[in-house]
């Protein structure tokens, strides 16, 4: 399609990777805080 941005999957993977990593590490932080209490 004319004008459509081509490629860019590396940005898509980076966004999803960072999002899931952020959520995972926060869940881990909650788990560790629970254990420390």
């Amino acid at each position: 399609m004319t004008g459509m941005i081509q490629g860019g999957w590396e940005f898509v993977w980076a966004v999803y990777g960072i999002t899931w990593a952020g959520l995972f590490f926060y869940a881990l932080h909650l788990f560790r805080s629970e254990r420390d209490q």
Binding site: I5, Q6, Y26
Partner: protein, 231 residues
């Protein structure tokens, strides 16, 4: 079992989010102008919606804390600001990574981006204040006031795309998003909402326990007076 209902809510959110992200990445069509880069929508928009909603919870909790002086509200301020900050930080990173292929730069001082950056700093100050102030009631008051002040910016963030000329696209809604994209977007939003609810409630329980223990702790005995040295 009742005390752990938030784990079930969080796990349900997780399942919804996995399905929605899979569908957004591999099933939904590419966006008409942005192509595959447009798939960032399914991560970015739910993060924004739920992040702003979490700050709304923090604002309500701050008003409740000042009004009642109850530790439960105070714990909710900390829990919701913490989760809001996580989503806010993710939002800024996602936005920067989306800006590069579409706008050509990772960052520009656009009204939406600038107000979002101010938001992360303002709510970061709230958490910093809570770490700094040791006296519980003073901490409740000061951090609640800081939360209310920080929240003033939240509607500005939301309305910035309407009030000012901006590179950022206007609000996303079912009217502005193709029907093939609406379902994964909605499911991702509910998934993120349930997951964030699980996080906030779990964190609230932890902070509430800490606060109650802190307030109920017996006073320490007076420190011994310094030895007098006689000549």
């Amino acid at each position: 079992m009742k005390a752990n209902w938030e784990i079930g809510v969080g796990l349900f959110g997780l399942i919804l989010l996995i399905w929605a992200h899979y569908t957004g990445l591999f099933v939904a069509p590419p966006e008409a102008m942005m192509g595959d880069v447009g798939r960032i929508l399914y991560a970015h928009v739910p993060t924004a919606w739920v992040g702003l909603s979490t700050y709304l919870v923090a604002f309500i909790a701050a008003v409740g804390a000042i009004w009642s002086g109850k530790w439960a509200w105070d714990a909710m301020v900390e829990a919701s600001v913490e989760v809001g900050l996580l989503l806010n930080a993710l939002l800024l990173i996602q936005g920067s990574l989306w800006a590069k292929p579409t706008w050509g730069v990772y960052w520009t001082w656009d009204p939406r981006l600038t107000t979002c950056a101010i938001m992360v700093v303002a709510f970061g100050v709230v958490l910093a204040l809570r770490r700094q102030i040791e006296e519980p009631m003073r901490r409740l008051t000061m951090s609640s006031i800081a939360t209310i002040i920080a929240f003033v910016n939240v509607p500005i963030v939301y309305l910035s795309v309407k009030w000012w000329r901006t590179l950022h696209q206007p609000y996303s809604s079912p009217e502005t998003v193709d029907s093939a994209m609406v379902t994964p977007l909605r499911v991702a939003a509910f998934g993120m909402l349930f997951l964030a609810t699980g996080f906030v409630v779990r964190r609230w329980r932890q902070v509430h326990r800490q606060l109650k223990a802190e307030v109920q702790a017996p006073d320490l005995p007076d420190a011994p007076s310094p030895l007098a040295v006689e000549d």
